[in-house]
């Protein structure tokens, strides 16, 4: 890197080393993140993915805290894919982590599986956590897939608020 920077400095004699470094980092910013471990067969889908450290997202948990296993994709866990392999949106989601941008209130999944989707955790991502792709479904227009970068750790997710998704009123 120093060799490249020295070469750049030679080219732009009048520019400072700091300036060259910032140019370099801007150009090669994406090189910080690699996605080889995702298992995604077609990494080109990430070309249209974006980083988002501004918006808040929802993630579900059956326990009232954010755990590492909660941030493992089904592929990582070794769970067999159970959807339609010809539905690319569904297939890609299998390698990502489902998150919902905080806009939508009612959530059908917690109604169908009240224990599995018991808690909702509001999160924000730190820079270089990974990339996000909007993957709206008919029932969930705010659905997104989060793809972890290879060196992802839970420190790259900020936890904001945890609440119980369902207030169970009915009795069987």
């Amino acid at each position: 890197m120093t060799i490249i920077l020295t070469e750049l400095k030679k080219c732009f004699q009048s520019l400072t080393l700091e300036f060259c470094e910032s140019v370099f980092l801007t150009i090669f910013k994406d090189m910080h993140m690699t996605f080889e471990n995702l298992g995604l067969p077609d990494l080109s889908i990430l070309d249209n993915a974006f980083e988002d450290t501004e918006n808040q997202y929802k993630r579900w948990s059956k326990v009232d805290r954010l755990t590492e296993s909660n941030f493992k994709s089904r592929y990582e866990k070794g769970i067999k894919f159970d959807g339609d392999p010809f539905d690319t949106a569904h297939y890609n989601s299998y390698f990502g982590i489902s998150i919902i941008r905080v806009k939508q209130d009612e959530d059908l999944r917690a109604i169908i599986a009240p224990v599995y989707y018991k808690y909702v955790i509001i999160i924000k991502f730190v820079e270089n956590a990974g990339k996000i792709i909007a993957s709206p479904t008919l029932n969930n227009p705010e659905h997104h897939d989060f793809y972890k970068q290879d060196n992802f750790t839970m420190d790259l997710v900020k936890e904001y608020q945890i609440s119980c998704n369902i207030e169970r009123r009915e009795r069987v």
């Binding site: 866990k77 070794g78 067999k80 959807g83 989601s93 059908l108 599995y116 008919l138 969930n140 169970r168």
Partner: protein, 412 residues
């Protein structure tokens, strides 16, 4: 995961062997359906996961075709179906790799209350795949013996194609013609199959669909059929008027698919009148509900793989049989003006009936007419209008009903 104080059951009855379909998913399936080795419908959902044992737990229930249809059409909830199957809830535990399974047949009391789906657990919206194939399945009574009365069969063959043709009529102008075929009938309970073929009028032998028009026509027809068998009946019963029918969903789909071909208000009026004609067709089809069969399910696509797009049951039948006569009686309009300007283009001098163009509010309206009296019609102003394509002034009474006009001409 909750503990089950019971040995696993040795059965594969609740295991999905074919027609697996995710009804709701994110990373994996949350709600899904399929068929077991006997072909019985199964509805299932994710219930829990054990991170340490690396296991996923699902609930599966076996459903009759009619219960499944009710669920798909949001007439019942997943919770209601679970409560209905209270003694036969199958808990299926899979290891992550799904290489094996353990099945427990439980009753509702053996499942912690917090796991039971909630009251609003209706089936999510499922995108229907547009299809050129439609099927009608009769269920119950005679149909369960794989029989249908010939009079019922004739009603189906006469009325169901009318509904499809009315949809196609709305799309005229794209230079395509539609042919409807009947496919071999299937027992189970009693299934009628129809196939639509859309040809390019200009190039009947040309199979290509370069601009995607045919595909868009099929997509619109699909939405149109869904509207007829889900929304139309409710709309007519609620509004009791043709003019007030809410056709926004249909128009939005049309505008989305054919953005370059906007429809004017006259076409929308015609669409509403056609929908009313469809309601009468549905009414005719449903005559034998309650006597020869219990209900009719409508499918788009191959019936084994498709979900129903609509249902006609005893409620629809009784609602339509009340709403239609009410609309009929309220919708007849009589025009007081007794002088009209018409140009006859078809005349039967024996029956004294014919067709003509009528000038009404500066527009030419196609009408049917009948000429009173017994006098000969040859060499009269009526035959003159026919031969010389001339507008003539006549006296008579004009009645309109559901967008169609009829003129009773006083012979002079």
């Amino acid at each position: 995961m909750f503990k089950i104080e019971k040995e696993p059951t040795k059965t594969s009855l609740p295991i999905i062997k074919s027609n697996y379909k995710s009804l709701l998913y994110d990373e994996g399936s949350i709600l899904f359906s399929g068929r077991n080795y006997l072909g019985t419908r199964i509805l299932g959902s994710i219930a829990d996961e054990d991170y340490e044992l690396r296991k996923l737990r699902y609930f599966h229930i076996l459903l009759s075709e009619s219960d499944y249809t009710k669920f798909i059409l949001k007439k019942t909830t997943y919770r209601e179906l679970i409560l209905q199957n209270a003694n036969d809830i199958f808990v299926v535990d899979y290891p992550y790799d799904k290489s094996s399974y353990e099945i427990f047949r439980l009753n509702l009391n053996q499942i912690p209350n917090e796991y039971i789906p909630l009251e609003k657990s209706f089936c999510p919206d499922i995108p229907q795949k547009p299809s050129i194939q439609y099927s009608l399945r009769m269920i119950g009574k005679l149909a369960n013996d794989h029989l249908i009365e010939i009079t019922d069969l004739l009603k189906f063959d006469q009325n169901f194609p009318t509904i499809i043709r009315n949809g196609m009529k709305f799309l005229n102008g794209f230079g395509n013609t539609l042919t409807l075929y009947s496919q071999p009938r299937v027992a189970g309970s009693f299934i009628l199959n129809y196939l639509i073929k859309i040809d390019d009028e200009k190039n009947p032998s040309c199979e290509s669909d370069f601009f995607g028009t045919k595909q868009n026509i099929i997509r619109f027809l699909s939405t149109y059929m869904e509207y007829n068998f889900t929304k139309l009946c409710t709309e007519l019963v609620r509004k009791r008027s043709i003019a007030d029918l809410d056709v926004d969903s249909l128009m939005n789909e049309y505008n989305h698919l054919f953005s370059d071909f906007k429809k004017d208000t006259t076409s929308i009026e015609k669409l509403k009148n056609d929908l009313y004609e469809n309601a009468k067709c549905i009414d005719a089809i449903s005559t034998s509900i309650g006597t020869n069969f219990d209900q009719i399910e409508i499918y788009s696509g191959e019936i084994e793989n498709a979900d129903p797009i609509g249902i006609i049951d005893i409620t629809n039948k009784s609602n339509l049989s009340i709403a239609i006569p009410e609309i009929e009686s309220s919708d007849i309009k009589t025009y007081e003006a007794n002088e009209f300007s018409i140009r006859i283009y078809q005349l039967n001098t024996d029956s004294r009936n014919g067709k003509a163009l009528l000038k009404l509010n500066d527009e030419d309206q196609k009408i049917g007419f009948n000429i009173s009296g017994k006098e000969k019609l040859s060499e009269t102003k009526y035959s003159e209008s026919l031969y010389f394509s001339q507008f003539i002034t006549i006296k008579g009474t004009l009645k309109s009903q559901n967008g169609s006009y009829n003129l009773l001409i006083d012979f002079e």
